[in-house]
Amino acid sequence: MITSTLIFGILLISVITALLALFLETAHSYIADYGQVRININNDKDLEVNGGDPLLSTLIREKIFIPSACGGKGTCGYCKVRVLEGGGPLLPTESPYLSKEEIQQDKRISCQIKVKSDMKIAIPQELFNVREYRVLAERIEELTHFIKGIRLEILEPEDGISFVPGQYIQLQVPAYKLSSQPEFRAYSIASSARDHHFLDLVIARVDKGIVSTYVHDYLREKDELIARGPFGDFHLLESDRDILLIATGSGLAPMMSILHQIDYEHIQRKTTLFFGTRTPDELFYYDELRSLERRLKQFTFVPTLSRARSRDDWKGERGRVTELIETYIHDNAAVDVHICGSPPMVQSCVDLLIKKGIPADRIIFDKFE
């Protein structure tokens, strides 16, 4: 008797929920059917999706993961996406999370707006493009006594990698003496973004660093590795102002990629690169940069040495990159500044530039630990 009531109860509840599910499904197919719509991402990729759902969950279905904390409840405001067309009017649930600037940039809260018609959106490349690659160490060369340049060939996937100059990838090395499990570290890409099948990385030896030690001491040409990416939002700032690039040590890598971009996109903005090292033999990519300087008349290369000795026969600048800023950059200069290197160097450069009246939104940096 008890068991039969029990089983009947369970069945009844299941029938009720199933009926509700049926109800919702029917309602969905009659009320919320907006048919097939097209979402264009970054002017590049088109997605064919079923309309009617919020943008956030539609993108998740397409394996594009916009970060969000509250799970589409509109209470965290993290899932911002630029919607260029087809977003409809700004909703009151979005406005609390968007500043005036963001509204001007067409930023929207993606869990709140629904996909009802064709849309055009822009999302950070890193969210759209992150993939895992099987790569081959095609060439390893010694750039200085503690920096190696490695060239990776992308074996898989076959269509290679797409990234924005300035971005980085995560390189994974297998378990070895220093580490019982595979480890990965982030390295900026130095090669041209036009080259989808090869990546140049600049890897400085870090004392006891698991990945850098592996690369320096164990990695041989033709070895295979895993890489993930691209990540990061370091990029060439768009305006018609002059361009200033400041790098120390391996921070030169993303600058190289950006210089390639200036070259192939024929960007005519006046460009200056400050590159600081300690001694002349640490100045890697020197010849390449000098020849680029000869070829591009808008580009000036200014290396500086902080510990040049008299026997080095150095005719260029001496001192730190901050001293170059003091000499070369006048107050309130119309310039976009891009900085890459150690955190203290980045910090002192930023402080100095702000003091010189360069607005903070014209300075972009990537700190290398």
Binding site: G9, T75, L91
Partner: protein, 197 residues
């Protein structure tokens, strides 16, 4: 069983036993959406609408399906699923056919599916053994009480948020909670107002 008059219950649900200020229900959207008055009113209206209808709906289901078949212990499941699917359905309908209403009110509906206040009202209704009419009045009253609290906090917050002397750590949720606390204190003064019949 329960003899509270409808008028008393209605006012008590708004003032003396405000669902937000004395029972802490519906705090998440309260903190998130109370940044400005306009959104506060939008979500408040959506809550009034949903609480009124779901408390009635759940009342009917509880007394006509769950009790006769001895399924009371499954009430959590049924109540929340009814609320979730009801809200989803209403939102779909408004979105499709009443676009203007959608921007003002409909957009808030998905946010309040899991609003504790709505399930809370359904549960209180059962525990306190309200009749059908009492459930309707209690649902509506609690919804209005919630709306009142969020609009009050929203309008205070709009002013205080921009004050330059506001400590940085308090910006956002900190100050909202303190305003809510003060309001809750103020609402305690209502407790002598309503006479039981």
């Amino acid at each position: 069983m329960n003899e509270i008059s409808l008028a008393t219950l209605f006012f008590a649900a708004i003032f003396t036993n405000n669902i937000l200020l004395t029972n802490f229900l519906g705090l998440c959207p309260h903190i998130a959406i109370s940044r400005d008055l306009k959104s506060a009113m939008g979500i408040g209206a959506a809550v009034v609408f949903v609480t009124t209808l779901t408390s009635v709906l759940n009342h009917v289901i509880y007394y006509n399906v769950l009790i006769p078949f001895h399924l009371e212990h499954f009430r959590f499941i049924i109540f929340i699923i009814v609320i979730a699917s009801f809200v989803q359905l209403v939102e779909m309908t408004i979105d499709r056919y009443f676009t203007r209403l959608y921007v003002v009110l409909g957009i808030f509906l998905p946010l309040i599916t899991v609003n504790c206040a709505i399930l809370g009202i359904s549960l209180f209704m059962v525990i306190r053994e309200y009749t059908f009419a009492q459930s309707l009045v209690y649902g509506a009253g609690s919804g209005i009480g919630w709306m009142l609290a969020i609009t009050l906090v929203g309008s205070i917050r709009e002013k205080i948020q921009k004050h330059p002397n506001l400590p940085r750590g308090l910006v956002g949720p900190g100050i909202t909670l303190i305003i809510t606390g003060l309001l809750s204190l103020a609402f305690m003064a209502f407790s002598g107002m309503i006479q039981i019949q």
